[in-house]
């Protein structure tokens, strides 16, 4: 079995088509989030927006391409531990990700 079939090698995914592409997914704990907006500021994909007013301000993941590149920089900078990446981006076909599994912290061997 080839790692990429010829069909996959020759097909460039249409980036904004959800049939081809899985973008990064965040789990945002809205009980912890206070809408400070630091994550939205540093997000390299500008995938996070702050919605709501006053006390209801919360971070939300945007749905349009371009999107979350699952770098987890937001998780690192968030003081309240309110969000983290749970699904990695994978655009499929020519850009299909190989040899990757679930998300874990650094492991002590």
């Amino acid at each position: 079995m080839a790692l990429l079939s010829w069909r996959e090698r020759l097909t460039v995914p249409t980036y904004d088509n959800p049939d081809y592409a899985t973008t990064g997914r965040l789990a945002i704990d809205h009980d912890r989030c206070n809408g400070c907006g630091v994550c939205a500021q540093i997000c390299p994909g500008k995938a996070i927006s702050i919605r709501g007013e006053g006390k209801a301000r919360r971070a939300w993941l945007d749905d349009d391409f371009p999107q979350c590149m699952s770098c987890n920089d937001c998780a690192a900078i968030c003081e309240r531990d309110a969000l983290r990446v749970v699904v990695a981006y994978d655009f499929g076909y020519y850009y299909k990700k190989l040899n990757r599994g679930e998300f874990t912290l650094p492991y002590k061997y």
């Binding site: 460039v12 540093i42 920089d73 983290r84 002590k108």
Partner: protein, 252 residues
Amino acid sequence: MDETATVETTDAGPVTGGDWNPVERLILERRSVRNFKDKQVPEYMVRRMLEAARFAPSAGNAQPWKFVVIRDKEIIDEMERDIVRWCKIFKFFIDWRTSPLGRRAAWLLSQISIRVKSNQLHPIPFGAICLIAEGKLGAFHGAPTVILLLEDRRGVSRPQVDIGCCGQNMVLAANSMGLGTCWIGFVELLKYGLKWRRRFGVEFPYRFCEAIVVGFPVGDPNGMIEREVMEVDWYEDGGKKAVVQGRNDGTA
């Protein structure tokens, strides 16, 4: 005496399951920074970064790099403006969602361009081109210091790999001094047109490759995060085993 230190190491070296040593911790906690304070980085810190770069490994000890340090806000702003201009031009032709050429024509152009420049137009930089063109994402993230890493094309075998080695030395040295850094691949766009090549003297054998922006981070961007576990093939004792890095798979 620190008791944990004696638990973690023996005379033979670190023990299995021990705590991270300072270098490991620095590597694991380092994150890219995209929001900088207005304060300029002291010159001696940049010099120390460059010194760390000088001692990086390179193929055949060719050291195929040249550094250009830019700490002039006007020059950085002008570079940023030109990068935005190029992003707008590319977006005009290949962003099928907004191109005035029409969805179908732009989609076809993008399909051709992506096949020609499959690394530069990977979905992630493609998205970044659109964001930079729309003014939503900064190219240099407001950093006070930009270090260009020019590639000497006459280096041994793969000079760009050596650029990566010396850049990582700089980034880790900067991090250890409390600075934040981010790799900026978009400086490559400055190769289009003669302006910046003339201004920075980027002619054969040099070419634009990467840049690292440096500054004091806003907040605390560092910390350990989760990443995908990775499959590794492992050949030992006459056989092959598949090792999954990042978890206790009973083999280590």
